[in-house]
């Protein structure tokens, strides 16, 4: 089958059985790869009501047809599972070099199931595949484990590893790879920890069959040329995602002190040029990347190095915590990565705790003696460690803000910034209605990567609530995640503005199947509806109320900054949902109608 390695690896950690199955041609035809494979397999293989941290849950790691190919950004793989953080669908995209090596080992997907009786790691070197004892690695941080394997096996071996966060089942534990890339959101690391799987080591030397080699080379070169010629390449490569820090601060989107505002009075200390001058030592890209967004930083104050911080971490572990020192933000980034917890959820959760402290809901008696005043860097470092180890006050924060605020009460639920139990990523949405809707309806919870619509808000009028905005969000949700299906990075398209049509001949040359973007968006729409049906299957009360944003965005206007005095009225929040459901072909409670399921050809999948 052109464009595919042709095999899915199944590893049963309970029995130790390791088997390979052919990649079903109809799966490749209908869902292409990546998160398309993930949601299909999740629905088919993980039974309704499975405990996310129990033996019935599985992890599906899937590449796509452009993964590992000479196509810009072909270094992405998808990690799908039932999320311990939300109880719904989790799909985390990971860059680096893991997915390329996975394909060269002859694998399109890896399915991890069951629970090992003891800590193990999965070793894959082409057809040599073994579960090996990891007792001596259990308890170790991610960087140490990765370094140990790299030194022992060689740089070409790619490693995905969990840290103490995953071992201790922190619901927002991540999987770390290549020292600075993560399958970050939803708690994939905790599921791996529940399976007692410390790491996956990969190496391969096989080839991927290609339908038309000449056309593939031509299409790949055209994509690289477009990136090379892009006017934004120089700036993007120099600053990566940190380009947007100053802009978000200017337009009121930079989360500040637990999203109580969208502009930070000391934000300038976190801007891209400051970071570049103070701490960045080099750039780092993923497999086949012509526009490296990763920044490798040296923190002299702490005598340490990290890949990062990128925008999200600057927002959540910087301004959101009242921290205005980029070196300290980078150190918080390092601690989270090394301990294996998501910087977004960790920063958001600590921000919530700091606001509780500010309001007197917590005192030092509650916080293990920590002074949680916004801006207290040392307290943040201590909390990150406590969260990953679920120690003392950190155990509460490790639950995430939805569960923690429910336990604490006293009105703290109102400033728990999440949707569906996932902590909101780093865009304050007091008055950016399309972006707010994107968060409300994102299929993993409050994450930005499916639909990023703030610029559209500013272009057409940020407070407007009109069908065109809803249509834009839906289009983005169908289109953007297709990069997570084909196994590529969307940043070349979104930030370098290369013509997306250039991907069409590349995909056709690799797979032998012509798919226009219209065809691909239809696949995206089918996947979106399946993820919705999965949420509904797993949560009996699932419906409209799950799509509501944090009350902060409709009740609690910022008192400073660019969005001072601005909120989105609750009537408009509901109007957005009404229009969204109608345009999606869903009921007024947000569930796909039978005729929608039928028209998308999904009846058999969800039967």
């Amino acid at each position: 089958m052109n464009g595919y390695a042709g095999r899915i690896l199944r590893v049963n950690l309970t029995t130790g059985a390791i088997t390979k199955e052919p990649t079903p041609p109809e799966l490749a035809r209908d869902f292409i790869g990546g998160r398309g494979f993930g949601i299909y397999l999740l629905l088919k293989e993980v039974p309704k009501g499975a405990d996310p941290l129990g033996p019935q849950n599985k992890i599906f790691i899937s590449s796509g047809p452009i993964s590992g190919m000479m196509i810009p950004g072909g270094g992405k793989c998808d990690w799908t599972t039932k999320a311990p953080l939300t109880g719904g669908y989790a799909s985390a995209s990971m860059g680096g070099h893991f997915t390329a090596e996975m394909r060269y080992a002859g694998l399109d997907s890896i399915i991890l199931e069951g629970i090992s009786p003891k800590p193990v790691y999965l070793f894959i070197d082409n057809d040599k595949i073994e579960l090996r004892d990891a007792s001596d690695l259990w308890g170790k941080n991610t960087f140490m484990v990765e370094k140990q394997f790299k030194e022992k096996l060689g740089e070409e071996y790619q490693i995905a590893v969990i840290g103490p966060g995953g071992e201790n089942l922190v619901p927002y534990a991540c999987v770390n790879h290549d020292y600075g890339r993560q399958a970050g959101r939803g708690g994939v690391g905790a599921v791996m920890g529940s399976k007692k799987l410390k790491a996956i080591i990969l190496h391969g030397t096989k080839s991927i069959p290609v339908a038309d080699m000449t056309a593939y080379r031509k299409a790949g070169m055209a994509l690289y040329k477009a990136c090379k010629d892009a006017e934004g390449l120089k700036d993007w490569s120099r600053y990566g995602t940190t380009i947007v820090v100053s802009w978000c601060d200017e337009v009121g989107a930079l989360p500040t002190r637990n999203f109580s505002a969208g502009s930070f009075e000391n934000g300038k200390n976190l801007y891209a040029p400051v970071m570049r001058e103070k701490i960045v030592i080099t750039d780092k890209g993923c497999f086949g990347c012509p526009s490296p967004c990763g920044k490798y930083s040296r923190m002299k104050k702490y005598n340490s190095n990290v890949e990062g911080p990128e925008y999200e971490t600057i927002g959540l572990c910087g301004s959101n915590l009242g921290i205005d020192d980029i070196e300290s933000v980078a150190q918080a980034n390092l601690l989270c990565d090394d301990l294996g917890i998501d910087t977004i959820s960790a920063g958001n959760s600590i921000g919530w705790a700091m606001e509780c402290y500010q309001k007197g809901i917590f005192t030092k008696k509650d916080t293990d003696g920590l002074d949680l005043t916004f801006g207290n860097v040392e307290a943040v470092f201590t909390l990150i460690e406590k969260i990953a180890r679920r120690e003392g006050f950190g155990a509460l924060l490790s639950e995430g803000v939805k569960r923690a605020s429910k336990k604490v009460g006293q009105g703290s639920e109102k400033f728990a910034i999440h949707v569906k139990g996932m902590e909101q990523s780093a865009y304050a949405t007091h008055n950016a209605t399309a972006m707010l809707l994107a968060y409300m309806t994102c299929d993993v919870g409050a994450h930005h990567n499916r639909a990023w619509a703030i610029t559209y808000d500013l272009q057409v009028g940020r407070e407007l609530v009109v069908p065109e905005k809803v249509a834009r969000v839906i289009w983005l949700q169908n289109f953007r995640p297709m990069f997570d299906v084909i196994g590529g990075c969307r940043l070349q398209w979104v930030e370098l503005s290369i013509d997306r049509e250039l991907y069409v001949p590349a995909l056709e040359a690799i797979t032998g199947i012509h798919r226009s973007w219209e065809d691909l968006e239809k696949v995206g729409e089918r996947i979106w509806n399946l993820t919705r049906l999965y949420w509904a299957r797993e949560n009996e009360d699932f419906g409209r109320v799950w799509d509501l944003p944090a009350p902060r965005f409709y009740e609690d206007a910022p008192t400073s900054g660019a969005t001072k005095g601005q909120i989105t009225k609750i009537e408009d929040v509901n109007l957005l949902l009404d229009m969204y459901y109608e345009q999606r072909g869903w009921t007024t409670d947000g569930l796909p109608k039978p005729e929608t399921i039928e028209s998308l050809g999904l009846k058999a999948v969800v039967a």
């Binding site: 995602t241 337009v251 925008y311």
Partner: protein, 74 residues
Amino acid sequence: MTATIRLGASLKNLLGSQAEFIVEPGHKVRETLLLLGIKPELVAMVSVNDEMKDKDYIIQEGDALRLMAVIGGG
């Protein structure tokens, strides 16, 4: 006595505008954008002679400015 402003593809596409403008120096970037009919908040990055600057930067003679929008986020 001029400077040039070049719009990156993302911003050009967003605005549906021409790619390059010749402007007079001596004004802030923000003011110049308004004169050109460009909403300053749509410009995410201002590069002046390959260095990132803010919109309060006063354009100097001979400066080469490059402006970018962000349409996709992280």
